[in-house]
Amino acid sequence: MNMLPVPFAVYFDPTNQELVLSGKMRPESAAMIADALRLVQQSLEKYSGVVYLNVKRLTHINMTAFAALSDLLKESCRNRPERKIVIITSSVVAWSTALFQTLAATEPNLAIEVYDSAFYPGQSFVEDETFIPILRTQTKMTWRHERELLPRHGLRSGLVVADICCGIGDFAALVQREFAPARLVALDHSVRSLEYARRIAADFDLQGIEYTYGDASQMLLRDNQFDFVTCRHSLQIFNRPEILLRELYRICKPGGRVYITNEKNSHCLGEPHAETIKWTYEEVAKLFRHFDMDVEMGPKSRHLLADAGFDEIKVDCFMVTNLDGDPQDFADIIEAWENVYAGEMAVRRGDSLEFIRRFRQGFRDHVFAALHPKGYAGWPIWAASGRKPL
């Protein structure tokens, strides 16, 4: 049994005047966290205006640590009544807001703000409920390929599986039905997506999936408990994918595997109108980059997994095309992309009407290619997995 203290981290970001506490703080005495307390005290003494104490990724605290932290905060509030302290909690960690609220109740210059959105830069774009049918269609089309690939990456029946960033839970439902895991945990940061996932599971009489509301970059799941961890189409929309990979690694058992899928949008293709389609998807990549997302990540999967400490890395690339089932499904996906990318993201970036017109044309040509009786339209995806070393 590993009895080393579970780590926590504390640092001060002077740019945002933000103290960040994360991890698990369960010291036997306040002396054991003296360095952290000193940093909190020094930061509070040095800065004016508003100082933020970010505890949204503080997953555990004992009352020894809380009491020591409380004493510091209260003393600081009373010594500097003109300076405000804002504690940022997370709706994921269910005890956090209520516990820190006990401090706000006694100190007028201390306030609590609950963080329950913007877990990643593009969250508002992809969690629009109108997007749900398209997400289902996407999974239907990718599943045809992944169903065949997953066993090669180590998925088999009877494993303990986690699907991180499960969205509306359709992939988890397919895994539950087709691979009969011993246990399946499905985590997402969208309450509405999880509600939808639970409803679908109930409608389809799918039992046993444990849905959990969580922040993938600081999960409440314990270390080393899953044989197979999946994270699909999600690393590419986090601005710090290495943090997410670190968490996937942490919850994976030694000898278990982490499976990720990502795209390379600039390689979406079609005939006829190859040139306009190519131009539009190259612009899609730039547009996502503007919002701190990397939809060109697919081919980087091997590099990312290696840097995160995985070995025995496997990489596959498959092309979802208009020939996979009904071409209208493919066309529906492209139309949904056009609506979000050209209709919302480009507008929010401040693009000109002329740019948006040309940008839309590439999507429309892609739809044309998908539905043309002799046309071909493709969407490439990289599936990669790595083993956590024994």
Binding site: M3, P5, M63, L99, V185, E210, Y211, Y213, R222
Partner: protein
């Protein structure tokens, strides 16, 4: 304390897990508090609509009680951790040998509902107004926590947590 205890039908609780340890072993490493807490909390989370989150939620209160036992017991003997479940509550019971001086501290605590105060001598954090943060925890978790004598030289901490917490 009898009034509080009478709020609960003890017979309605079915045992879920029972774990026993030598006190000397338990006291040998502070980290045992964390490991035992996580083990118990994982089990408490089972059956909830969001097991991971409910486990984490209860682990804060559970950990405090496990740490309270760690700080309170120094006697030779065994410490036991038991979980029970009823239709509406999850119950944690920690029973351990405790010297007589601590008994008196506990006796005072029993007179104060939801304040299982051990006092400064136990090393438990006590705030300047004389209350302990554990009282706040009981309110946050809507838990009923009580401390009772268990025979002549024993103490038991009993915490009942509602099983219907809704995080959605």
């Amino acid at each position: 304390m009898k009034e509080e205890a009478s709020n609960f039908d003890d017979h309605a609780f079915a045992p879920m897990v029972s774990m026993e340890m030598n006190v000397g072993m338990f006291k040998s490493q502070w980290q045992f508090c964390d490991r035992i807490t996580e083990y118990l909390s994982d089990i408490l989370g089972q059956g909830h609509s969001d097991p991971a989150r409910y486990s984490n939620f209860l682990s804060v209160a559970t950990n405090e009680l496990v740490e309270l036992a760690f700080r309170s017991t120094g006697e030779p003997g065994r410490i036991s951790f038991d979980l029970y479940r009823s239709a509406t509550f999850n119950r944690l019971r920690i029973a351990f040998p405790c010297e007589e001086g601590s008994d008196r501290e506990h006796a005072r605590a029993r007179s104060s509902e939801r304040q299982p105060i051990l006092g400064a001598a136990s090393g438990y954090p006590v705030e300047s107004d004389g209350t302990v943060p554990l009282a706040n925890l009981a309110a946050i978790f809507r838990a009923a926590i009580r401390i009772e004598k268990d025979g002549t030289r024993g103490i038991q901490i009993i915490a009942d947590f509602p099983s219907t917490e809704d995080f959605q």
